[in-house]
Symmetry: C2
Subunit: 412 residues, 2 copies
Amino acid sequence: MALRQDQDVVVGAAGSAGVFRTQYLDLPAPLPLDSGRSLSQVRIAYETYGRLAPAKDNVVLVCHALSGDAHAAGWSDDPEAPSAVDGFGADDRGIKPRGGLGWWDGMIGPGKAFDTDRYFVVCTNLIGSCRGSTGPSSINPDTGKLFGLDFPVVTVGDMVRAEKRALEVLGIDSVLAVGGGSLGGMRALEWTVAYPESVRSCVSIASTARLGSQGVAWNAIARSAIMADPDWQAGFYYDTGRAPTAGIGVARMVGHVTYLSAESMREKFDRRLQDRERYSFTLTEPDFAVESYLRHQADTFATRFDANSYLYISRALTYFDLARDHGRGSLARALADVSARYLLVSFSSDWLYPPRDSHELETALRANGKSVEHHEIEASYGHDSFLLEERRQAPIIAAFLQEVAGVRGSKR
Amino acid sequence: MALRQDQDVVVGAAGSAGVFRTQYLDLPAPLPLDSGRSLSQVRIAYETYGRLAPAKDNVVLVCHALSGDAHAAGWSDDPEAPSAVDGFGADDRGIKPRGGLGWWDGMIGPGKAFDTDRYFVVCTNLIGSCRGSTGPSSINPDTGKLFGLDFPVVTVGDMVRAEKRALEVLGIDSVLAVGGGSLGGMRALEWTVAYPESVRSCVSIASTARLGSQGVAWNAIARSAIMADPDWQAGFYYDTGRAPTAGIGVARMVGHVTYLSAESMREKFDRRLQDRERYSFTLTEPDFAVESYLRHQADTFATRFDANSYLYISRALTYFDLARDHGRGSLARALADVSARYLLVSFSSDWLYPPRDSHELETALRANGKSVEHHEIEASYGHDSFLLEERRQAPIIAAFLQEVAGVRGSKR
């Protein structure tokens, strides 16, 4: 597949999955939701990488996190597409805000952890998002107008139900593996509980069976920042010419700092001033490099992500609770009937989805006699390590998938 | 001194310093500022507890943190005065938002760490605040209107300069000790460097010689939340009938979570729901107890603290940098000429002003052959431990002050 020549940066070109255009499918029936409501029409954006084996036994479903999308690997065929690779990931690799490199390109492609020479990798955009699948910025078929806050609250369980039905539309009944980081790791876990007969393995990275108090608090603050913006207009802003860009900017800054670690911020910024020798002695100038960086993150994010989608997905994150949803409060009980093999990966400096959460999962799985391996990786990037520490997690994931697939050293 | 009988809660009554009314003094001359500007008229709010010894050698200056005030101990004589004791401190002790218990009442009083039977304790409200000392909500003598954003940016050095002059108005040239937590600890440190001949000892608790990248980031986010609120009106909102209450609410929520630890939040809230059995499946209801708690904190704070003051004090916090300001980048050099004895106290779970910052201070002081002791206390309350862990820090501070004062076991 031809690689684009107009990129200044060729990161990912070696072993690139190629150039892709996001595709769309419609679910054939209304989607029932955990709230008791339903979505009568659901469109799912997706991309696929690699080839489906005739036996259909090489499917790997990759699940993105809060602000990701279906474009997980390779380049977008639209050079103006915003890149979902941002923050340290973009900074440290010189990736431009546009140009469309997939958000997990370092992990998906020929010879990479999710090896597209072996596996048929599918990535779907989750419902509630603004990146192609049905969400609050979609048209409400009941009114002909954009949903806004009439969109029903969706859960991780609802997202996974939509993903299962989307795969069925593609003719896929079961997967070799489902994997992802953060909210993507939550969906991978939910898959194994909701559809135990359809999942052979689960790769849950920097994730948890339920967000703790502090994580719930950060999400509540981010949502408060959006809803405090008068331009949010109780969620019905789409046709007003105004949008809560200031609010989502603050939300993004909060989120961004929780994704990093104090150590990685110190290494990157310390107390360095931005383009000045001395303090400005103003309230409004971003004197410090870290202040300037956060403003840039806020501004960039506001242009590529819808505030209502942020609210809905954040809500789903905080609602997710395997023990509550499937085990009457017991995580071990929730995992009693799973049949998948589990790979859990956590990162030492991740204080948002800390290693202790993966340890809890490991303990509950072992209590049920399930197959689980947990790797706690020493890494300084905090929660974002799942996007950045490819070198250390890739071999672990590659080996796990090969063992699950029964492929030991030889390519198909 | 008579104790009030109309309090439902008598916390602090045993050993209470008494009932107090905040007093005010005016500096006799304009105050030069680090920015090059000056304040032509400066009023300082203050309270004192205990009695000044004839030799004036028992003065302890206590410095409050960002949102504190001069009312450090005992009860206010105004039963409607808002209490500066809030958050976990108020919750866990049943303290009402009004009733005027001093913000460090557990530490200041007869027989307490700052023993008012021995010491003459002075607490001044810092400049830039909205709690009685000159700040952005004061009248600008040049225009006759409230300052708003015409108030000059002030630094920790400026605050300390104002404090020194305020003590001189009270006839006090030197102090036995200067102490405080967080921003109060910064001022204590600044005192020892700016006025080495006037300070016999320094008690710096849960503080730092300079905020790291992450702390700078949290402060930048809090300020962004305020400035993003249209009701902020570029800082000139006082006579408009509108104020950025939503913005300062978000700022307070961010601050509040950084003051706690993940552990203490888990212990207090876990994922408990608030007044409900199941999720509301809405975006706007505070389903979780921690969400409800943060909203309450935001609402309470907005009624008692001015948003512009928050901006100015937050800016001062981030600018503070002993090494940059006094040591041409070297902390050891900045501390070369101090003569005070130092007590540093840090808390294991404080990730905003982490123990490593106090270790750095200790190392720099030792490199200069200065007298320093550093106690890292195992405590789960995070940064707020300096307000909550009285039992463990009080004996350390009491012993240190007695040794500095040369009072060994016997009362004056």
